[in-house]
Amino acid sequence: MKTALKLAYRNLVGAGLRTWLNVIVLSFSFVVIIWLKGILVGWDYQAKSDMTNWEIGGGQYWHEQYDPYDPFTLAESHAPIPQQFSDEIARGDMVPLLMVQGTIYPQGRMQSVAIKGIDPAQDIFLLPTHKLDTVVDAVPAIIGAAMARSLQLAEGDYLTMRWRDAGGTFDATDVVITAIFSSNVPSVEAAQLYIPLETLREMTMMEDEATILTFRDAGAERAAVQGWVHKPKEVLTASVDRIIKTKTAGQSVFYTILLLLAMLAIFDTQVLSIFRRQKEIGTYIALGYTRREVVGLFTVEGAMHSILAALAGALYGIPFLAWQARVGWTIPMDAGDFGMAMAQTLYPIYSAGLVITTVLIVVLITTVVSYWPSRKIAKMNPTEALRGRIQ
């Protein structure tokens, strides 16, 4: 094997431009595959991290009537907070959230919103809820940048808010925007209005009630609670997993095409080699190689393209991938319109597993593609091959 590796290396380096063209194409595949996969892993990590920080914490309890995809359930989705969570809430390790359906009237227009009551002192979410702890002449409210943009609202703007209390009676008051925050999680920003929890409870006559209870510690054992549904973190991020999976499948097609192009070049080189290097094949056999060993040599030669490609790819790929990890890739359109947790700039994350798996897959495929045409050598007549006669 050592001899085959040495000879294969000499043959490849000796073949010059043809080898380097194949190596460059293949190295490009390496770098692009690792970069694309890195972007997906980075997106996955970023999306889950953003969701944790802005929306789901370490997991949640949902009121049993609550259905995020059906706003009509909001009227019934509230209940007193179970006594067993009192200590956790007092420690700040659990945040109650009360939600009601409402309407706001910015600049004479009408917009349905989910009014969310949240404790201004909470620190589980990155929401700037401390801005709700402000003495103003209207109810303080914070909104997301996406909604502020679409409704043309700015900090300090007043608008009328209407809601129905627990008894079904409509009421209205003025709110003032005390902060506009920017997250990468559209569901936190789109048609959401955050006001102080106690204010909303008074407004709706839902004393000590909540719709969602978000806890900080994802690892703690959670018991079932009557009237509430436990939603572990992995359940809440499952939608992101599904999107990433779909994207991964889509991108697999892209880099399969990329790989196919590189493999075509290798295959072509191998087929040509077997015809053009017949005398050489005969010489190897005359000097003491078996035909099987020559097949092995040609296969190693082909496979070595991928090793050289990995090295060449490392030369320009490592600086490029490191630079991308630092500056990220900015999506050339507004990611906020995509409707899913996605930052405008994605930062690729590369793991050793990703790099090793990619290299192994490419080396394996290259070896198979190299072996396929080389099998013809096993059927060659060495005396004909020595004379370079086409067989």
Binding site: T3, K6, L7, R10, N11, V13, G14, A15, K279, E280, G282, T283, I285, A286, L287, G288, Y289, T290, R291, R292, E293, P382, T383, L386, G388
Partner: protein
């Protein structure tokens, strides 16, 4: 069987299928070659000399009969055993040199030693010795396309001789060379034959080569037509 013989051939026949019939290239060949011989298979094209050389070189097998090379019956060897025989004991010199064009002169000569898994330091010494025999120590880094035909054939001789084989098989070694280069090559081979006692078997119809042979085996239509020994003083004229 004569155990002192390098090559022993008994009632050897070789046929090639040609459509529904068969072409007999060699018929009922009986020969024996001893150690240190400088012998040629002489005959016109199609007389079977290259076919016989290929069988002796274990690159081909007889249709019937036996060819014993270094006490091994080539027709009965497995592919691995035949490769082992070629690797350890046989050297080949071809009409068109058959050098590895992308390798340097050094690497070409080194190749048989790599297959024998000889250590790097010893390998280097053996290669340089072989290149010294053929007078090419100043070309170690050149590649075959940078060499003349004569130089290429000298590299091929060095490659065949570097492992000190028992038997060297040379198929029309001077066919692509001019007279001066042919004589130079042949004198080199005669010197190696005398100094190292290596057996040389040629397939040729070149008068220049025939002039150096000590034993001439004439083949005609696949049969031995004549087998004659030459007095030493005739080859030294």
């Amino acid at each position: 069987m004569d155990n002192n013989a390098i090559i022993q051939i008994r009632e050897l026949t070789k046929s090639f299928p040609m459509g529904k019939s068969a072409f007999t290239a060699l018929s009922d060949i009986n020969l024996s070659l001893g150690k240190g011989e400088f012998t040629g298979l002489i005959g016109p094209s199609g007389s079977g000399k290259t076919t016989l050389l290929n069988i002796v070189g274990s690159l081909d097998t007889p249709t019937s009969g036996e060819a014993w090379v270094l006490n091994q019956s080539v027709g009965r060897l497995t592919a691995r055993e035949a490769a082992q025989l070629r690797k350890e004991s046989l050297g080949f010199i071809f009409q068109s040199y058959n050098l590895l064009v992308v390798h340097t002169v050094f690497e070409n000569v080194e190749f048989p030693l790599l297959l024998l898994k000889i250590g790097a330091a010893e390998r280097r010494k053996m290669v340089m010795d072989a290149l010294e025999w053929v007078g090419l120590t100043d070309k170690v880094r050149s590649k075959p396309p940078q060499l003349s035909g004569g130089e290429c054939q000298r590299v091929a001789i060095a490659r065949a001789m570097v492992k000190r084989p028992s038997l060297v098989l040379a198929d029309e070694p001077t066919a692509n060379l001019d007279a001066a280069n042919s004589h130079h090559i042949l004198q080199t081979m005669v010197k190696l034959n005398e100094e190292l006692k290596t057996t040389f078997l040629f397939a040729t119809h070149d008068e220049k080569v025939i002039g150096y042979l000590r034993r001439k085996i004439y083949l005609l239509d696949g049969k031995v037509a004549q087998d004659e020994w030459v007095k030493v003083d005739q080859t030294e004229k």
